[in-house]
Symmetry: C2
Subunit: 225 residues, 2 copies
């Protein structure tokens, strides 16, 4: 039980989801948690600012220490609870190298997903250009094809090979997000197989975004990727 | 000696510099290395593509394994060579948490530096807006003030406290880059003191960008921050 931990989170946010998956994998259930609403801008509430001065979710605290950055929190949890739950950094040198490589490439992947999915939300109306959205769309298509290729070649069911690692913890939420936003399963069969096979993993099932369960209808911002 | 390692790098690139600092800290001198030219687009050469299909620098190989992502390579080196050179992940829980937090906040810092310093380079002429550059400049100013505040409060000379850690390895190059691009030392005295004090650290001195040594004149894209 993890009564000395607090997580403030928002539904459907890949950064929040990463930390929740890591907590499940390390058998750290029972932490104090509170679901906040992005719609109501609760990430800017004093409760969040007390932990995360950036006013972003997740806000995560373990005892007196704070790690709000999702990649940082996942690495911290693995490091502090090495012998508890599932081991998330493989000993095998090759798998470990691939894990680190994919984890950080995953940041580029998610950035490119966001550059398309959130274009109108991020760019003020007077600054929008069809040429920019077209370029972002092409960049994302190239990126998604790269990952489809990775999964064709990887020897195992997971991003770094035969074990579920921090690469899956950190990158899976972004991939799920892409399908939620309309990425075509038929066009990317390996990515779709990876996405679907991990849906049933206990850590992922237990933390599936509640708003996605309530409203399974996907959006279509990525349908042309 | 690290004869089984190869690093292809570009001068003045914070991602390349991170890996070079980590290699020095872990006493992994003597690796095969080659300085390539961004001006000549050598990052798109076959030599790079053979290691890094993204056509980006750094391209880093250890024996048969590849880790091109700079954060990934630094973590990989620390993990593979735990007992060699300087320990870059502190045992102390508080310092470790702060290290992970600052490492990943450092990505936001560098993104915001790049959004200003490279604005004209990244955004095609017909898509540029004064309002966007102004917003990026304001966001960077807020970010830099945040880090100045962090350094006022941190108990020690380094980003995570009393030890030089992966936070310094990964974030220092971006801070040096900001001063190189005209950030005002007088306006941010704590950041300037941190920047200047680490210039003499052997791992940083040995890897200082050669083009910065040849041409110490700074650019001024960040002078108004």
């Amino acid at each position: 039980m993890a009564k000395d931990m607090t997580l403030l989170w928002g539904a459907g946010s890949p950064p929040c989801w990463r930390v929740m998956i890591a907590l499940e994998e390390k058998n750290l259930q029972g932490y104090n948690q509170k679901l906040l609403s992005f719609e109501k801008m609760e990430q800017k509430s004093q409760e969040v600012l007390n932990i995360n001065p950036r006013g972003q979710l997740p806000a995560f605290k373990h005892g007196n220490v704070v790690v709000n950055e999702s990649y940082g929190a996942c690495m911290y949890l693995e490091n502090q609870f090495k012998d508890q739950g599932n081991k998330l950094i493989p000993d095998c040198q090759t798998e470990q190298a691939l894990m680190y490589q994919r984890m950080f490439e995953g940041q580029t992947l998610f950035q490119k997903i966001a550059d398309v999915a959130f274009y109108n939300w991020k760019v003020p109306e007077g600054e929008r250009h069809d040429s920019a959205l077209k370029r972002n769309t092409e960049a994302l298509t190239t990126e998604i094809k790269l990952w489809e290729g990775y999964l064709q070649k990887t020897p195992g069911s997971f991003l770094a090979g035969k074990s579920f690692t921090l690469a899956d913890v950190t990158v899976y939420p972004g991939i799920a997000f892409a399908f939620r936003f309309g990425l075509c399963e038929k066009r990317y069969p390996k990515l779709a197989a990876y996405y679907n096979s991990l849906k049933e993993r206990p850590s992922i099932k237990a933390t599936w975004p509640p708003n996605w369960l309530e409203n399974p209808q996907t959006q279509d911002a990525l349908k042309n990727i």
